[in-house]
Symmetry: C3
Subunit: 373 residues, 3 copies
Amino acid sequence: MPEWAELDLIDHHCHGVVRRDLDEAAFQAMLTEAGGEMSTVGGSLLDSRIGYAVRRWCAPVLGLEPHTPALEYLVQRAALGFEEVNARFLAAAGLSGLCVDTGYVPEPILTPAELGALASAPAYEIVRLEQVAESLFGTVDADGFAGAFQSLLESRTREAVGVKSIAAYRTGLDLDPDRPSEAEVANAAAHWLARDQRLADPVLQRFLIWCAVDRGLPIQFHVGLGDSDVDMRSCDPLLLMGLLREIEPTGVPVMLLHNYPFHRHAGYLAQVFANVFVDVGLATHNLGDRATAVIEETLELTPFGKFLYSSDAFGLPEFYYLSARLFRRGLSAVIDAAVSEGSWNATDGERVARLIASENAIRAYRLDRDVHA
Amino acid sequence: MPEWAELDLIDHHCHGVVRRDLDEAAFQAMLTEAGGEMSTVGGSLLDSRIGYAVRRWCAPVLGLEPHTPALEYLVQRAALGFEEVNARFLAAAGLSGLCVDTGYVPEPILTPAELGALASAPAYEIVRLEQVAESLFGTVDADGFAGAFQSLLESRTREAVGVKSIAAYRTGLDLDPDRPSEAEVANAAAHWLARDQRLADPVLQRFLIWCAVDRGLPIQFHVGLGDSDVDMRSCDPLLLMGLLREIEPTGVPVMLLHNYPFHRHAGYLAQVFANVFVDVGLATHNLGDRATAVIEETLELTPFGKFLYSSDAFGLPEFYYLSARLFRRGLSAVIDAAVSEGSWNATDGERVARLIASENAIRAYRLDRDVHA
Amino acid sequence: MPEWAELDLIDHHCHGVVRRDLDEAAFQAMLTEAGGEMSTVGGSLLDSRIGYAVRRWCAPVLGLEPHTPALEYLVQRAALGFEEVNARFLAAAGLSGLCVDTGYVPEPILTPAELGALASAPAYEIVRLEQVAESLFGTVDADGFAGAFQSLLESRTREAVGVKSIAAYRTGLDLDPDRPSEAEVANAAAHWLARDQRLADPVLQRFLIWCAVDRGLPIQFHVGLGDSDVDMRSCDPLLLMGLLREIEPTGVPVMLLHNYPFHRHAGYLAQVFANVFVDVGLATHNLGDRATAVIEETLELTPFGKFLYSSDAFGLPEFYYLSARLFRRGLSAVIDAAVSEGSWNATDGERVARLIASENAIRAYRLDRDVHA
């Protein structure tokens, strides 16, 4: 296996993992993007590429043979206990940095500091824009919202390395590209504040994004793959073209997350916009051994300085390790194929590996400056 | 060749084949989804993956060498006569069951019973919703349509194993997910009954689908690949997400047919919705030796308990055999690749083969109950 | 390497190359579809598949080792001078004909005759519809536009082999299929003539296209891949289905250019419409060694008599050679795979190579008639 397969990775988009033991139902519920209802007519979700990949790659980390049957795997997992399981997978991931989205906490999960300690790597924070805005619900009036949000975003991101938008989940990505006026924001805020805390208004989504642009930190966008709540048609990254055209002159990096099944669309955007980066997080572990194909397709147009690694791990610590394992394996296969057929030379291959494993993330998030980790 | 390459298949979506001999023009017209006008500026449709696949795989079934030139193939086909040709290809397909859509009969074709006899396998019926509705044209008034349809659907499906919607061809898949009200149905029926027999009304399409949900049988949807009459943009399965969200709690299986070139979209839906199944019928033989790639891509997200085999054979009996041949070959290649690289073990591979070849269809259509075949 | 890898190609869609030496910034600006702003946060565009492909394949044409570092390559390029560089790449391309789009001349570039002389092959002209229309700006009134355009198109295409529409860049491809009325055209022309020279009106785009249909020459459409000015969502070739349905009965060939990332959609259209042809120009060199995958995917449904070679070279003469090199390499790999696994026989492989390399272009553009070259 070539040297680049062992390179440390920066996981530029991930989440906390749970602080509890999981029975089979709970484990399966966290395994994929499937909704709460357990399939019976469709069989078990463990019979899937991701299920087989967990058995193949994660079982040895728990001291089991590769391909150990799922139920035995879950027995061993329970016997070790969640703290040991979390520790093993985070340590095995081989990370040199983590950028943790702290905006999704449906149950108690590990903090960035705890994740970083287990991974023996600096953990940086990504602040979710909607979470910041929603924390103001009930504390501001419509006219005060804009200023209060900008002020809170400033303080919340003082030690963060980036922000994240989940407009894809709230309004879809087909957003008017223009910065909304003060009056539009106040009017939209009035409507929002008269309803419930969940923010899902296109004017406010645009306002949040433009405040983030002003803040100057890289902006992550959820794109593509998600659960059944999302309208996947409105998660095509091509819908962002208008907004990307407006943001490009500011130089603020835009990180398109996940992207599958629109990953070739994302690669196009990464080529034509100077500030657009892409990854295939979440897809990497969901696709198991087919992650290789998606990495290869995304790297058709994506310049090698614009592709990042992320796991999008949430809940199961397995995903920290499994994604890293599958990504290294896939990236190595892509590089090996190009080098062995003579399309690239070995120096090219090493350069691509280094850029994608960590150098792109360091450059885009400026992780080499004096940043709190 | 591994054992799973010889597994019997259940063809869960197919049609009758013609009862006549075919000259070159007639054969070519049935070969692909191209319209009636024969291409001259574009050369012959026999020069295509499907054309070469017919010569490669079907020629030996007629006693010819693989790759026999097309005109010799057609001469031999004519010499044997359509009855012998039908018999040979249905027998060679290696089926253990057929679910025959009886709603498309542009000319005399074999019945499910005749197909089953030739295939030496039970043949079940799939009832086309639009055909049932259109059979009421001229016999009911607007207020009586809803009840008459429900009643006729009940009797028509008493011995059927599923129903089919061709909303994709009539209105596209971007349907309002809600069950229409009685008044809406009566109003839409009035408009329809005042025009011609062809039903292409979004309210009535939704009504048909919801009646099928009430009936509790699996519902097949035409998705993706079709002829030039379809608006392919409105055949993206992602357009069904709203409807799938509403149907999921009922547990009624939804079968997304064909799907190409949106097969990865379909795989996503099969993962996130408990009751969604997918296939790549029609694409399998149209793509010839590239069927393998499409099977592999579809199985990225599709859980192995949710993928089905179908030929979508219509007209030419070759398609019964050719699809089965190419599907076995493609599925085996996908499984072999995963097993030989160590991503799955051999037991995993055998399990995937069994599920997809027949167990999923038996479970979803409940073919093991006492059903008329 | 099989014989078909050395076949001469007809490049059915290309442009002129520049008449000046290029520094690194100018070279990089012409390398991809990225906009004017040079990426710094994203690294160099030379670190990309196309950048590595230039170093791999083009360096030897300039007397350098394969994989020569980019800066050394540019030094050698400057030392040779643009005239020598142009001459070497055009000669190395191995073309037996060129169809040159003369409608895009942002700076002085080589003429078709000059390109043909360097390539030692006949060079034919493709007339850009928008350029013809815009040349009338300021010389006609609204009522006179329609007649003046038809008359000018007639004279401008007297020695041309085809025309081209860039509706994708101006209005998107979601065009009403019908031929506009005289009154509609005059009204739209009035609005256009009251603004500036750039024509971007859906009624006028339709008028131009229908005039081209009347003229009877093949019509090229920009589809898919382009720069960041294009709304890529409106470049999906499926949007053309309505128009294609109307044009099909006329028999006028429609050439869908580029198509990536919608190349499978284009393949579907090439199957179902008798007069539709496709290529993967521009993508071929942008994807470097991955061009093979896109050729293979496009040839899933595209009949072999409907696929064409083009470079879409503009500006850099490298693209004439690089595209031809990558296309031969990719097409050979696709054919070899099918032949070596026994799906096609060797005769099939040779036939596919001949059709795609030149015979399809000769047939569709009628290049074997007495045409000015």
